[in-house]
Subunit: 115 residues, 2 copies
């Protein structure tokens, strides 16, 4: 069993094209022995966002803190803390910090298609 | 894409033997179109706990609030909000509310082995 505080895990900058002021902490991954899905914590700073994109794998998201929004079918939908989001494979999406403070959320992905 | 507040989703009592004062909200499941893993939110009330057990599938847990502990190799380990826990397949575990207030955590499981 692995037990970790999220702050112990490095926040790595996300360098993907279109990602702006985004950091990722890999809370549970293959390094921990997880074989099927991974748990990551995203931190988007003020004025930051993830790229508007789509891919073959799903996301399962839970919002922890901040004033964030998700791009859904051309509109920005507010997702306050306590919001769960399921992004099916191939659906276009991005996550945007609309506030002054850090926007934090968990994002789970299947391991076999994490890249 | 599905977007929901966790409070909108029913908290169902967990009736498994050994579960005491435990409720589950299925935030993302097969009903939403998820095929590989599910996101559930557990709520354990004061003096409550999940059963001490083991099974063939893993858990990926993130603690949201409360004063909780996880049973790990015979000892109770405190897991404050912000703790990530990976429980590998076949490892014995249970989650215990050690405080006065609700203990809330997310628990992800593979869908093919959720029962």
């Amino acid at each position: 069993m692995k037990v970790k505080q999220f702050q112990e895990i490095e926040a790595e900058p996300v360098n993907m094209e279109g990602a702006d002021h985004v950091f990722i902490r890999w809370l549970v991954s293959e390094k921990d022995g997880a074989e099927r899905f991974a748990m990551r914590l995203f931190e988007i700073q003020k004025d930051g966002r993830t790229p508007l994109h789509q891919h073959q794998w799903e996301h399962e998201v839970f919002v922890l803190e901040g004033d964030g929004a998700v791009w859904k079918e051309g509109k920005e939908v507010t997702i306050p803390p306590g919001t769960a989001v399921f992004v099916p494979p191939e659906e276009k999406h991005c996550f945007i910090n609309k506030g002054e403070n850090l926007f934090r959320f968990l994002c789970m992905v299947p391991i076999q298609k994490k890249t």
